[in-house]
Amino acid sequence: MLPLVMLGVTFFLFFLTQRLSPEMRASLYIQDPRQMDSLEEVIEKYGLNDPMPVQYFRWLKGAVKGDLGYSESANMPVTSAIKAYLPATVQLAVAAIILVVLFGVWLGIISAKYKDGLADNMIRFFVLAGFSLPIFVLGLILLMIFYGKLGWFAPGEYSFTADMIIHGANFKSYTGFLLIDSLLNLNFYVFFDVLKHLVLPAVTLCIGSFALMVRVMRSSMLEELNKDYVRSARARGLSDFKVIYEHAGLNAMIPVVTLAGIQFIRLLGGTVIVETVFDYPGIGRWGVECAQQLDIAGVMGFSLMVAVLFVLGNLAADILYTAIDPRIRLK
């Protein structure tokens, strides 16, 4: 089923790109205005006037071989662009999901513990407000305060000094993930610099998406707290802390695991706006640039990659769900 859906997605997207005239698509290949006369040649050379299915199969043939074309907005082949930008986004999404799970679980537990009390109502309102605040407005306000006023966190992926080190001769790239690479290089300056630049975008992503986590944790926790084993634990004289965090809390976290998986994937797709606001060089910002500059090979490659991640992620979440909870194992 998966390959069929992917075929459908790429065909649909390709159909959309064909809304642009051959001249518009050809002009992507032209850097110098003086070359405009050779527009016809370019159209001829790349077969931009061919029927759409013919062009689609040409693209598909390349894609199967791992050639997704050349991204003009990134100035490199699409596959290289993905390799260059994806690690930064994964880093950001991991940082964000850690925050989402930590705060989501913690606030969910507190909210359930003081059900309908002041803390519960405040958390629920705060979460709903965070969920309703557009992510770009939140990002800009955080930048205004923490960059403009306090000067703590700057936009971008790393500072100018770190940039010099990273592209210097002594810094070896092992994985593409700067946080890991800097540790492997034993360069803690770069590590903390990159970490510092992650704070604002990760917090923004977290506030924008932990509403669901708090809600799920809260209702799951309320369910657990009503169970017999919690009552027995209390009857045996265990402390409130132990009962809530060790007994009920751990069991209540089962749905959180699946949700975290799903949300992680959503974050990968949702970084589009955050990366643009914070000028963070990840896959999302590249995707926006591709769309803005009508870089067709880029748009196709970007959406194909996001779709593959999204579908595989949802599949993984399903598998994880049944693996972790023996009660819902499918027959």
């Binding site: 859906v5 709903l128 969920f131 309703s132 557009p134 800009l140 205004m144 209702s219 643009t276 959406s303």
Partner: protein
Amino acid sequence: MSIKDIISKAFGSKNAIAGLIIVVFFALIALFAPILAPSSGRDAYQMPQGGYSIEPQAPNAQHYFGTTENQYDLYYGIVWGSRMAFKVGITVVFFALLIGIIIGGAAGFAGGWTDEILMRLTDIIFAVPSMVLAMVIAAMLGRDLDNMMIALTVVSWPSYARLVRGGVLSVKEREFVLAARALGASSLRIFLKHIMPNAIYPVVIMASLDIGYIVLTAASLSFLGLGSPVGTADWGQLVALSRNWILGGHGNPFAYWYTIAVPGGALLLFVLAWNLLGDAFRDILDTSSRKA
């Protein structure tokens, strides 16, 4: 549960009432926009430009909320922006719902191959995050209000189609349908008169509560420069116009706070109101996520 029950139950919560009040407030602004902010141009959605100075002006007697970069009046933008928000939200929900009802209804009622094909169609849309897909569609169709609404409709209908299909499947086997069939009613009559009215009303309520989400996505597209054309009274675009000024100036980092606070605040209130309403209804309609 009848519609009456659902509505009276939903408005038993204070949150839902607060949400309703804010939505009505914005609706009034939208309705009376021509009186609140008379337009001089031909297209009222186009914000008038008071000069070409780059620097925003702080709120004053002429510009109640100040101006943005390039001297668009924020008050005008907010007032006509609410009208725009309703226009976009209602149009998109209407068409997405229409497509969703037709496709979901056909899939659920016909079953078999029709169902299989139509549901794979929704899978295709679901395979790409909606924000990304909307962005790509809007970019490829070109920066235009109608194209933005088309993009939002394309990414919104599949979830309604699935809900309608589920509703139809559950109603299809009920006794009153069997009774109608036994009385010799035609398939079309059964579908239109007996199944649809019972299958769609929860979906219609859920969909209308999505207006907040749709306006938010529309604002995101406009913020990225892929939505409404330059100068349209659109909250997302007003926020985008504040991007160059968030660091302030004249030694004051918050010198241009209003450029973000005003349109951002309007968006927040609007979306929050719909979420408050949506929460109340979802608790009642969606039994699977009912809070303990």
